[in-house]
């Protein structure tokens, strides 16, 4: 995969993550679950920021950043904090794998960006009460 293809794939994953976190935020009560609401809100903002950064990295290469899909499939039952956490964990897992692939397909500042994103996604897993991993983003190494 070329650097540009990898950047576009990562951006596509960011679009999906933003959709997921928007939906998760709508299913999380700020008063009943303040800590989870704060975590979801923070991750929503984080993925929006990464999306904007990726758009710039792609545009800098003279390419058109991939657009978001019209809609995304999300679980119909996000009615409990457990379900929200589980879906958020799955999202972070997918993004972490994308960032790890981007590390392999980039060099210099772009790789540094991808490493930072991978580390943050791994830490987000802990904030979502997930278990630590041996190889975040690269599970086949374990």
């Amino acid at each position: 995969m070329s650097t540009l293809e990898s950047l576009q794939a990562t951006l596509a994953a960011e679009h999906a993550a933003i959709f997921v976190y928007g939906d998760a935020g709508a299913h999380t009560s700020q008063s009943a679950e303040p800590a989870l609401f704060e975590t979801i809100s923070t991750l929503y903002r984080t993925h929006r920021a990464r999306r904007d950064q990726l758009r710039l990295l792609i545009a800098d290469r003279g390419a058109t950043p991939v657009a978001s899909a019209a809609t995304y499939v999300v679980p119909s039952r996000l009615g409990s904090p457990v379900a929200v956490r589980r879906h958020a964990l799955r999202t972070e897992q997918g993004c972490a794998e994308g960032y790890a692939a981007l590390v392999a397909n980039t060099a210099g500042p772009d790789r540094d960006w991808a490493i930072g994103a991978l580390i943050e996604a791994a830490q987000a897993r802990i904030q979502l009460d997930g278990a630590p991993e041996t190889f975040p983003g690269a599970p086949e190494l374990g």
Partner: protein, 109 residues
């Protein structure tokens, strides 16, 4: 690159061993870290002989030793991140970045 990453991990392991030997009650906390580093060393095993590393010196109290371990893990995460940044192979960079992320995860867990 691989050799320096292995040395950094082995230095951390040496410190963990020293802390574990001096403070028995910290063993349960340290054991998962030792498992993590062992898994990482296995992936980085290129068959080359490792240089000897000096055994770490544990801090005298459990509280100080816990801080010492956290500092060492933080430092290791940074070293692995830097190695990932400089790796000439993309796949090696990916593996090193994943290891840095794993160590960073344990630091905040």
């Amino acid at each position: 690159m691989v050799a320096s990453a292995r040395t950094a991990i082995r230095l951390t392991v040496a410190l963990l061993d020293a802390v574990s030997a001096r403070h028995r009650r910290l063993r349960a906390e340290i054991s998962p870290l030792l498992d993590l580093h062992a898994a990482h060393l296995e992936v980085l095993d290129d068959g080359a002989e490792d240089e000897a590393v000096e055994a770490g010196l544990s801090a005298p109290t459990p509280a100080m030793a816990r801080t010492q371990v956290a500092d060492a893990e933080n430092s290791l995460a940074g070293t692995l991140r830097d190695a990932a940044r400089r790796a000439s192979s993309g796949e090696l960079a990916r593996a090193l970045a994943s290891m840095s992320a794993a160590v960073s995860q344990r630091v905040i867990a």
